[in-house]
């Protein structure tokens, strides 16, 4: 007797398997006719098997972090690894706040209370921003008050969102208290948890987030906040023994937080105080000066981001020891500002610098220098000072863009496509740019010429074959009118000089009234300032080292340059692979890259023309 194959998921296959089974018996014969009663029963059986199979498949998928599809499953798996995905984050702006009080009896200092509100309008929608702490301003003697933060700086941070409060009364311990805040718009970074001793009393203890706790004892007042399956947030307290203090029955828990509009509030650049400031019974207008526009607002961490970050965060174990730890901790905490992180030990520098970890951050677009510096300071204060090994300093190194100039040439058969030559050249150019957007423009991403050429060959059957010349380019902003030494560090070895072509060529600049370029002398590593026709005006302006990829310019003194930067292009020793070092990020110089089609009708000639 045949057995029934029930391991398939497809309804038709299951039904076919059932029919195959029925072929082995003679009791019923009508299973092949769709209108028959037997076919109806087979429908029920097959549908049941189909649904059970699918459910089993889905359930199994949801059981693993890398195959789970539902956010609730991914969040749950991440939680097991000790990773709590980022909630929505509020957009933050920096402003200066000033007040002028002319009254002679004015106070010596004025306090601006926390949660003072400001408004801004973005695309005709009004958003509310707030201060999160008290700020104090002192009289400068003329009645001018400038509010300062705890670092005595006038840069005051205001945070987008609407203030909301959720109150819980702690019940009996045996009830298994659960504190869920039914709001998925919460920015958990703005959360403040106060536990009052009694429902009506005013004495309270402020609890701190577990992620900021360095040591936990039975009396630690800590809380943990995590996303629950429906997207809301649950607050969890210690157990009263070793994992921190537990609120007692009769306590009142007051949780205040900002409900945020996330990334919609990014880009606000004009803020107005919602209310005047009351000074001794008189209202004064709070003057607001923009320092940096609002930025950093972001939606909840995406499922794919959680999958990536949870595993590396688990590997780092809340400590910063290895290079991967630095990447994991910084990305986990500042991913709304930073798209990529690279870190390396100072021993890898040239020359080596021991006792330092170098970190390079690739920020999102639109951040000002002061905002970037603020984030770097926060990383040092909140992460490296607490989690890194003692005596290891963190040094930030700005990313260096290394540009590639790609000259693509391909044979093209017009009979195999309806595209024109220009059309197919444009197609190739777009494919090259898209390859960079997708595969490069981040730390540690390697350019491999053959993989890009494979993509180009696949674009159209009309592209018969392709080749690509690769040049590597660094940019320099020299001081005009002053002789200065410069070093350019290429991440690759430079081709050895020969008598055929120049291996190092710069963009144009003006030297003593003549338009010039820097080139290496044919067959030599020596660099010269030459006219466009090739006459040497400075016979030795430096040299390049083939193996280390360093260009040294000695007493270089241009009169003027084109644009703000000079471009130095070199032919690498190995054009097939360009591997970035440390803080280098590979990008494309679209202006100096080209794609050129050579028409090829694939005729086989009997004689060469």
């Amino acid at each position: 007797m045949a057995t029934i194959q029930s391991t398939d998921l497809d309804f038709d296959t299951i039904k076919t398997n059932l029919k195959t089974y029925l072929q082995a018996q003679s009791e019923f014969a009508d299973y092949d006719f769709e209108a028959s009663g037997l076919s109806n029963i087979l429908d029920v059986l097959a549908y049941n098997t189909h649904i059970n199979g699918l459910i089993a498949n889905f359930a199994t998928n949801e059981s693993f972090l890398n195959t789970a599809q539902l956010r609730s499953s991914v969040v749950s798996h991440a939680e097991v690894l000790g990773y709590f995905p980022r909630s929505k984050t509020s957009s933050r702006a920096t402003v200066n706040l000033d007040l002028t009080v002319a009254d002679a009896g004015r106070p010596s200092s004025i306090t601006l209370p926390a949660y003072t509100t400001f408004t801004t309008s973005i695309e005709d929608v009004t958003y509310t921003f707030q201060t999160l702490e008290d700020y104090i301003a002192t009289d400068d003697g003329s009645g001018n008050y400038s509010f300062l933060n705890s670092s005595e700086s006038a840069n005051i941070e205001i945070v987008e969102g609407t203030l909301r409060t959720k109150t819980f009364i702690v019940g009996d311990v045996s009830d298994g208290q659960v504190y869920v805040i039914p709001d998925d718009t919460m920015d958990t970074a703005t959360m403040k948890v106060d536990v009052y001793d009694t429902v009506s009393g005013s004495s309270f203890t402020t609890y701190t987030n577990l992620t900021r706790a360095v040591r936990i004892t039975s009396t630690s007042t800590i809380y943990q906040v995590k996303e629950v399956p429906n997207g809301y947030f649950e607050v969890i307290f210690g157990d009263g023994s070793v994992l921190g203090q537990q609120p007692f029955p009769g306590n009142k828990i007051v949780i205040t937080y900002l409900s945020t509009s996330a990334d919609l509030a990014n880009g606000g650049n004009s803020f107005t105080a919602s209310n005047d400031v009351d000074v001794d019974g008189t209202d004064y207008t709070l003057s607001t000066t923009l320092v940096s526009a609002s930025t950093g607002g972001a939606a909840k961490e995406t499922i794919s981001s959680i999958k990536n970050n949870a595993t590396i965060a688990f590997a780092s174990q809340q400590r910063m020891v290895t290079v991967e730890d630095y990447k994991a901790q910084i990305l986990a905490n500042y991913s709304s500002y930073i798209t990529d992180v690279n870190a390396w030990g100072g021993n890898q520098n040239n020359p080596p610098v021991y006792g330092r970890v170098y970190v390079s951050l690739k920020f999102i677009d639109g951040l000002t220098d002061s905002q970037k510096q603020n984030i770097k300071d926060q990383i040092v204060t909140n992460l490296t000072n607490n989690l890194a090994i003692m005596s290891i300093d963190t040094v930030f190194s700005d990313p260096t863009n290394v540009y590639l100039e790609l000259g693509t040439t391909f044979n093209f058969d017009p009979d195999l496509t309806n595209l024109t030559t220009r059309g197919i050249e444009s197609l190739v150019t777009n494919a090259v740019n898209s390859y960079f957007t997708t595969n490069l423009q981040k730390f540690n991403k390697v350019f491999r010429r053959s993989s890009l050429l494979t993509e180009i060959d696949k674009l159209s059957p009309a592209i018969l074959n392709s080749k690509m010349d690769v040049k590597v380019q660094l940019r320099l902003s020299p001081t005009v009118g002053t002789a200065t030494n410069y070093n350019l560090y290429f991440p690759v070895s430079i081709a050895s000089p020969d008598s055929i072509s120049h291996k190092v060529v710069s963009s144009r600049f003006t030297y003593q009234g003549t338009t010039c370029v820097i080139r290496n002398v044919l067959g030599s590593n020596v660099l010269q300032v030459q006219t466009l026709a090739g006459t040497a005006l400075v016979t030795n302006v430096g040299s390049y080292t083939t193996s280390t990829g360093i260009i040294s310019l000695i007493a270089f003194n241009p009169s003027a340059i084109e644009g703000t930067e000079m471009k130095f292009s070199v032919i690498p020793a190995n054009e097939s692979t360009i591997r970035p070092l440390r803080s280098y990020v590979i990008d494309i110089d679209s202006g100096l890259s080209f794609a050129r089609a050579i028409v090829d009708y694939q005729n086989t000639l009997t004689t060469l023309a």
Binding site: F11, D30, S36, A46
Partner: protein, 147 residues
């Protein structure tokens, strides 16, 4: 003149008939699920099995059968729409199409439809021929609203 005789390749025609049509029995479950005294359910065979299948086909609504959205006579739809003069012809067309598409064992000979809008009732008579046996069978189906 020598006597002519049949070739014996096909056997002795005097004692064994030549099989000209497929002799396949149609055997189906009786969808009333009536129980025999032995505990088994009854079976429907041949013309009765085909008749049950056609009734089943006509009373099935489209999209009702899993992964076969066009299967069915979809007659119930007419019970819940306003009665129009051309409904009877529509019903005939739908019945003919459904049988032609999904019941290869029969050839339709005649379809009669009588709609009684005041009674929310429709009576359908389908006369068909079972192809394998040439047997003519008539099926009466009545559909009516219960509420």
């Amino acid at each position: 003149m020598p006597a002519k005789a049949f070739s014996i390749e096909d056997g002795d025609l005097q004692t064994k008939s030549i099989i000209t049509a497929r002799q396949r029995q149609y055997v189906d479950i009786d969808l009333t699920f009536t129980k025999k005294t032995t505990g088994e359910i009854y079976k429907k065979t041949n013309a009765a099995a085909v008749k049950q299948a056609i009734k089943n086909l006509l009373l099935t609504n489209t999209t009702e059968k899993p992964f076969q959205p066009y299967f069915g006579g979809d007659l119930n739809r007419f019970l819940f729409s306003l009665s129009e003069d051309f409904d009877e012809e529509d019903m005939k067309d739908m019945i003919a199409a459904a049988i032609q598409n999904y019941e290869p064992r029969v050839r339709v000979k005649d379809i009669q439809v009588l709609i009684l809008p005041d009674n929310h009732d429709a009576k359908v008579t389908v006369v068909f021929q079972i192809i394998s046996t040439s047997e003519i069978v008539s099926l009466d189906v009545s559909i009516a609203r219960l509420r």
